[in-house]
Symmetry: C2
Amino acid sequence: MDKYIGMSKKDNNTEEKIIQAAEVVFIEKGMAGARMQQIADVAGINKALLHYYYRSKEKLFNVIFKIAFKAFIPNLLEVFKGDKDFFTKLRYFVSKYIDVLERNPHLPGFVLHEISHRPDNLMKMVKEMNFDVDFIQDQIAEEIAQGKIKAIDPAQLLINVISLCIFPIVAKPMISGVIYKGDEKAYKKMLKDRKTHVADFIINSIKP
Amino acid sequence: MDKYIGMSKKDNNTEEKIIQAAEVVFIEKGMAGARMQQIADVAGINKALLHYYYRSKEKLFNVIFKIAFKAFIPNLLEVFKGDKDFFTKLRYFVSKYIDVLERNPHLPGFVLHEISHRPDNLMKMVKEMNFDVDFIQDQIAEEIAQGKIKAIDPAQLLINVISLCIFPIVAKPMISGVIYKGDEKAYKKMLKDRKTHVADFIINSIKP
DNA sequence: GTCTATAAGGTGATAGAC
DNA sequence: GTCTATCACCTTATAGAC
């Protein structure tokens, strides 16, 4: 079982217990695979009480999805607003982001899977959350203009960065099984090395 | 609805119709979300006949998963066995693989999602299929030894290549929504550009 | 707020006629 | 092989006592 993502500590609060349980179950099983009964069990209550707090499975799911999405596109992106060297910020972001994902390995799979099954519904929700990644692309463009990095489509570079961070987590069983022949330790070492490898790989590619 | 992956053309054959329908439904909805009734509807038959051919949902799922997995880790990898220049083979692979995934956008999400929900079950199946990617890593190591590419962990490079190809497909609604603000055409153009961009990006990073 | 009991409808699977 | 009808179970959701 995964740990819950949320930050509240009021464990005695029933609502909090429900949220924590729902995070664990939904993120592990997905909307279609999750069962209200199991969420109730994990929360240590019964189904009826679950429906008393959240009238339907879908309403509860939407609450959890928002929490998961915020963890998935983290405040971490804010580091790019700092005035440090771009490569320094990139190294910091990659290392910390892989760190976050490593501790919540089912998170990216959950968000990606659900968002591609209800794109309209969920994207509306995401828009309300008002995420902004434009400033990162602007910053990349500015770095290029100043000759600090090679010419590259800022969007492509951004996609490359997140691909290299997220995919190894989403594809854990795949990589662990096919590339490392089931050797879990080898997978973990790879992920640890990756916290510096990814930034090195990217910087090697884009430095002038 | 997606198109089916399989290659057979015997459309009148009931078994073939079932496989095609099951591919469409399972790959789009996943095991937990798929319904035998819907598969029957898409195949133009009824549930009973479905169970006549495949005794259970799980048996049918396993058949489809194997097909999907073979398409996901394609014969395309064989190009690395050729004797062309490594960078040439890399360019060819990236371009063709993104091409394949673009035409089956739900395929990688399906395989990754299901494999991480039944790792033991499915990895056993995968092992029976006897995939081999070791020769690619050997080849990378050889290139490094010959000084044709910079020192790099072959496994990390391999992971980088597939991450950069697959992630943009798995995360389509995400990228399309957050980076391109819902502009589908911009997403498609990005993917088209990516067929050359990814190899350029990688080669820039690893050329001596 | 929290529980037990149960309704209402869905879902995988089978029986049996043709 | 293919169909209709049906079973047995599961799942969400609600009613009503405390």
